[in-house]
């Protein structure tokens, strides 16, 4: 049974990753599960310098999901390389670095810096974080700006590039096409949805940042549709995510058109989810006499 999939020149032993921002820098979960069984570890978003992040409360529970407005707290490139890279480098599975900036130049510069680090599996361009004032989502909701970010990063690195698209658009297709045209090796679909919750007793927003990003099982049907839309538009691999908590959820993403998947919010409540999803995918393939996971991609039946 073949479970391995490729993202540009990067080959993954299996198609199940953990999503940026939901798995820290890997080390935190290493006592609860064997990271070397994952397809890849995607780390929390990093920009050039350190970022303090938003005031608290930063997350809130909502029906079948959660809101977050962390504000991309992080150590910056140097801090990351110093504190977290030695551990990540020691893993047998690739690490994918989620990067962002407030200007096209900053994105390119971060990409360049990680190109030089050596051993990085791929870069994931976060052009879709709804929780920061500058940068993030603004690049993900204007196809021209998106094209410029991808083009600049493409020039700055030979690492595989993954563009993480925003769900907050009328159609994901122009964005998927722009990323593909500018040399992105793959797409990640999707990031969190702009959303809000209010405590009716205090009358305050449940997040200090007022609004935040919605993730978890509640968004899965929207994410599946986005993957399905993008799949018919582009040829490059798609990493599907949004509410996956079981192998069945992951398989739904494959059928819609994903080549790989990432587990996000579910890590918080069931840290073993990614491993359970890998095992469950194997069972499903076996039960259905499928020898290669790649046969599932886009295999939804329409007639």
């Amino acid at each position: 049974m073949n479970l391995s999939v490729s993202i540009g020149k990067l080959t993954l032993q299996n198609p199940v990753m953990v999503a940026s921002g939901t798995f820290g820098y890997g080390v935190e979960y290493s006592r609860l599960l064997d990271l070397n069984q994952l397809g890849a570890v995607v780390v929390k978003g990093i920009r050039l310098g350190p970022v303090r992040g938003n005031p608290t409360p930063r997350t809130a529970e909502v029906t079948s999901g959660m809101l977050n407005a962390i504000g991309l707290q992080g150590p910056g490139v140097d801090g990351f390389v110093e504190k977290y890279w030695p551990f990540l480098k020691s893993l047998r599975v690739p690490s994918i670095i989620n990067i962002w900036g407030t200007t096209v130049e900053e994105y390119a510069e971060v990409a360049r810096r990680f190109d030089a680090v050596g051993g990085v599996g791929a870069l994931e361009l976060n052009v879709s974080c709804p929780n920061i004032k500058e940068g993030g989502a603004q690049f993900g909701t204007d196809p021209k700006l998106l094209a410029r970010v991808v083009a600049a990063c493409r020039k700055a690195t030979t690492l595989p590039l993954i563009t993480k698209l925003s769900p907050n658009v009328t159609s994901v297709v122009p964005y998927a096409l722009a990323a593909e045209a500018e040399g992105s090796d793959a797409l990640s679909i999707t990031n969190s949805f702009p959303a809000m919750a209010i405590d009716i007793e205090t009358r305050r927003p449940k997040l200090a940042n007022v609004t935040g990003g919605l993730t978890g099982p509640c968004i899965k049907p929207i994410a599946i549709k986005l993957v399905w839309d993008a799949r018919r538009a582009v040829k490059i691999p798609i990493i599907g995510m949004g509410g996956i908590q079981s192998a069945a959820d992951a398989i739904e993403f494959f059928l819609a058109g994903a080549n790989a998947v990432a587990i996000g919010t579910a890590n918080f409540y069931e840290p073993q989810t990614a491993l359970a999803v890998i095992a469950g995918i194997q069972d499903y393939l076996q039960c259905h006499n499928i020898t290669d996971i790649r046969e599932l991609t886009g295999a939804v039946r329409l007639s």
Binding site: G53, T63, Y269
Partner: protein, 273 residues
């Protein structure tokens, strides 16, 4: 730290809205240090996905227990669970209290409401006995007083409505004791002479802030356990941060990993909520 299914052994009402839940969790029980917590998934919640953190109240052999207050959907559902049912627990988590050394500082414990839960193991494992100052709004908010007395600790109670112990905030008897040892001892037997006191506190943030202020003014060390909203409980999501002093200013640190117990002098109280 492990993640595992744990079985409910018992789940009984303590006073009013407070319950004690005993779980079979040998590995967690063995590893627990005072001030650490459990992160519980309550499966019947279904559409409320996230785990809930609770201080480990007691840890004996095969079991750990928590002392919790029903305040919302998770704790309400928890209160309905019975012996034999299963939860999923991650624990023990977090950086706990420094257990006082024999002959060293005298521990003064300060707890508000369910903050008492975080204190029991500390009292139990401290070779040095001390005083527990416990506060709450009403008499029913004063928890496990008898258990602390059984450990040989002096317990001083304050309630906001004056229904039990001294009327007012828990910091009043604490302050009185620090300023003038023995003066307000409500207990009949004479209070021990306080040598070189060190504060340990757990409760709502305003109480912790008041304790930190008292510590600062009296140049005492204080370890405080912060009750921050949590999500992952293991340091990956960056939900539970508080502002902590650094060489060049401050940064957000995680309550679930760098804490929940911090040295009160490290916290930037002006920024903290």
């Amino acid at each position: 730290m492990v993640e595992q299914p744990v079985q409910v052994i018992s789940n009984e009402r303590d006073t009013d809205a407070y319950f004690r839940l005993v779980l079979r969790a040998p590995e967690i029980a063995r590893a627990t240090q005072p001030g650490q917590f459990l992160h519980l998934r309550i499966p019947p919640l279904r559409d409320a996905l996230l785990r809930r953190p609770f201080s480990i109240f007691q840890a004996n052999g095969e079991t750990v227990s928590i002392l919790y207050k029903t305040i919302g959907k998770g704790t309400d559902m928890l209160a309905r669970m019975g012996a034999g049912e299963e939860l999923s627990a991650i624990g023990p988590l977090g950086h706990g209290f420094t257990v006082p050394a024999r002959g060293g500082e005298t521990p003064l414990l300060v707890a508000g409401g369910y903050g008492m839960a975080a204190m029991y193991l500390l009292a139990e494992r401290s070779p040095q006995k001390g005083i527990v100052f416990v506060g709450g709004r009403r008499r029913v908010d004063i928890l496990c007083e008898a258990e602390f007395r059984k450990l040989g600790w002096d317990v001083r109670v304050a309630t906001e409505d004056g229904s039990y112990g001294e009327k007012g905030l828990v910091t009043q008897p604490l302050l009185a004791e620090i300023q003038n040892p023995k003066s307000k001892a409500e207990s009949a037997r004479p209070a021990k002479q306080i040598q070189n006191p060190k504060l340990f506190a757990c409760g709502p943030t305003p109480m912790l802030k008041a304790v930190a202020k008292i510590a600062e003014e009296h140049k005492l060390a204080a370890e405080i356990s912060m009750d921050e909203h949590m999500c992952c409980g293991v340091g990956v999501c960056l939900t539970c941060v508080i502002p902590v002093k650094t060489a060049s200013g401050w940064e957000y640190q995680r309550t679930c990993t760098e804490g929940p117990v911090f040295d009160s002098r490290e916290v930037v109280w002006e920024v903290a909520k």
